[in-house]
Symmetry: C2
Subunit: 114 residues, 2 copies
DNA sequence: CTGTATCCTTGGCGATACTG
DNA sequence: CAGTATCGCCAAGGATACAG
């Protein structure tokens, strides 16, 4: 007899958490922003330099979204002229393993494919 | 010819090795496709059922791209009617840790944020 | 069953100029 | 320095019908 295959894959609940996390790190520049912030806290224009080519609009969009999600902390420093420090929150640090896994695989792919 | 403004959307930033991997798992349905294939090999319409809501066009697009990248293997079975088996290549399996890390973080986020 | 072929909408992103 | 405000494009993705 032909072993009829299972109609369902074992654990479908995966759909949700995947989207949950990817909706955070999914933006075009977002992973790199988190990457740089995971190394150290950065100011707006420092990030703008880190992410060469990003427009201030998009950088603002991303940072605001990340801040709203509780992933990034924004702190205005009482300096003159005023500067703003961005850093990862504890929640933001939870993302680091995923980012690192992605980086890891990125390296492997690079080795394997050229 | 008309000189077009060069505001076309470029590929993600090149600063860190993130892009390499994200360009593979970055598509809208791609992570889930890889997830389902990591459990077992699947046929086209099985994947279409797994990924409820995906259009055949997009599923084809993704599978072709993944196949071209060496991540997914496509095998036509000599059955009647013909069926096609998709599975992960060894290279594709390299992606699993990253996917799993993302899932992991997805769970954490869900716990922490409700 | 396994895809193609079209058409259409959307929103993400780029570029640039301007403000406190 | 740290953003906002506008404008515009275009490619990803949805919907649907058709084909081998």
């Amino acid at each position: 007899m032909i072993a009829r295959r299972k109609n369902k894959v074992e654990s479908p609940p995966v759909n949700c958490p995947l989207s949950e996390c990817l909706s955070i790190i999914g933006g075009a520049w977002t992973p790199n922003i988190i990457w740089y912030l995971s190394a150290q806290s950065r100011r707006f224009s420092e990030l703008k330099d880190d992410l060469q080519g990003i427009s201030p609009k998009v950088l603002t969009q991303r940072l605001k979204k990340l801040e709203a999600e509780g992933v990034v902390n924004r702190e205005v420093m009482p300096t003159s002229p005023p500067t703003v420090e961005y850093s990862l929150t504890p929640l933001g640090n939870e993302l680091k393993p995923a980012i690192e896994a992605i980086v890891e695989v990125g390296h492997k792919l690079k080795r394997l494919k050229g």
